[in-house]
Symmetry: C2
Subunit: 171 residues, 2 copies
C-alpha cells in the first residue's frame, strides 16, 4: 500500500525540479538515537547527495569529490552539503571517519528507515548486493525547500552526472 501511495504521488518516478521537499522528516547525523536534520526545512541553497551505500567502492570514490570541492560549491552560493544514505548512523559516522572527512563540513546523514529517500522517489531494490532497498545515486540543489536541479544516475554504480566536477559546472 505504501508503495502504491508513493507511485500515485510521484508517478513512479523521482522528485522533479520545482517540487517542494516534504517538511519535517528527521535524519540522523551524529546521534543515532535521534534525528536532528530536516532537509525539507533548510534555509538557503543547499546540496543533497543520495548514495546507494556507505563503504561501497563507487560511493567511496564519489563522495570525496564533494569534500574536496566544498569551498568551490560555497562560492557558487551553496550553503551546506548533505550526503544521505539508507544506512544506520553508526555506519555513516564510521564511513565519514574512514573517508578522512571527519574535519570536513560536509554532513553525512543516515536515512536509516528510508523515509526521506522514499519521499523523493529515489528508493530502489538493492536486495542482490545490499540486502534491502537503498538510495539511487542523485544530487538535488534545493533552495528554501524547492528543488532547483535534479541529477540522477541511470545506473546506480555510475558516477557521471552526479560527479562533483559535473555538478559544479551545471549550477
Amino acid at each position: 500500500m505504501a508503495d502504491l501511495i508513493h507511485k500515485l504521488k510521484h508517478g513512479g518516478g523521482h522528485i522533479k525540479e520545482g517540487s517542494a521537499l516534504k517538511s519535517g522528516i528527521l535524519l540522523k547525523e551524529n546521534n543515532p538515537e535521534q534525528g536532528t536534520i530536516k532537509l525539507g526545512d533548510l534555509v538557503g541553497r543547499n546540496l543533497i547527495i543520495g548514495i546507494p551505500g556507505a563503504f561501497t567502492p563507487p560511493c567511496s570514490s564519489h563522495v570525496p569529490g564533494y569534500v574536496q570541492h566544498y569551498d568551490a560549491f560555497v562560492q557558487k552560493g551553496i550553503k551546506d552539503i548533505y550526503v544521505v544514505a539508507v544506512n544506520d548512523a553508526f555506519v555513516t559516522m564510521a564511513w565519514k571517519e574512514k573517508l578522512g572527512a571527519s574535519a570536513s563540513q560536509v554532513h553525512f546523514l543516515a536515512d536509516d528507515d528510508g523515509s526521506f529517500t522514499s519521499e523523493v522517489g529515489m528508493l530502489f531494490d538493492a536486495k542482490g548486493l545490499l540486502g534491502n532497498k537503498r538510495s539511487k545515486r542523485y544530487v538535488l540543489v534545493v533552495d528554501d525547500g524547492i528543488v532547483k536541479h535534479v541529477f540522477v544516475e541511470s545506473e546506480v554504480a555510475n558516477v557521471e552526472v552526479t560527479k562533483a566536477e559535473n555538478v559544479l559546472g551545471k549550477i
Copy 2:
C-alpha cells in the same frame, strides 16, 4: 504472513538446543555479490555469534573478545568462529578492518537480507536506533548442524551471557 509462518515454526521464540540449523542459506563474507558460507552445512563444532549492528559501540566491544580468545576456543574443540550481522557485506568487511581483525581467522558474515537471522528466530525490530530489523545478540554452539548451546542476551545492548569469557567457561 511471513511473520506468522515464522511464529508458527518457532513459537515466537528462537532456535533451541537440539534443533537443526536450516541447510543451504548463503551468507556473504568477502564477496558482496555472492554468498559463500552456509552455516547450516558446516562440518564439526562451530561457534556462531549474532550481533545487532556493525560499528555500534556494544558490538565493537563484544566481538574483539572472540578475536582475542580464538585459540582458547580452538582448544575447546571449536573449529571456526562466525560473526553474523544484518548488515551488508561492504559494512561487515569495513568493520572487521576497523576492529583490527583483518588478520584474524574469525569470519565476519553479512546476513544482508536477514534470512539466516530470521530462520533462527533472532530478528527483532531495531527501527528506532538502526532503522530496520536486526539480530538479537546471541551465541550458538553448533555441531554438524545441530545446535548444542544457545546463549541469548535478554537486552540486546548487554554483553553478559554472550561474552567470550562466559561462553568459554560454559562449553
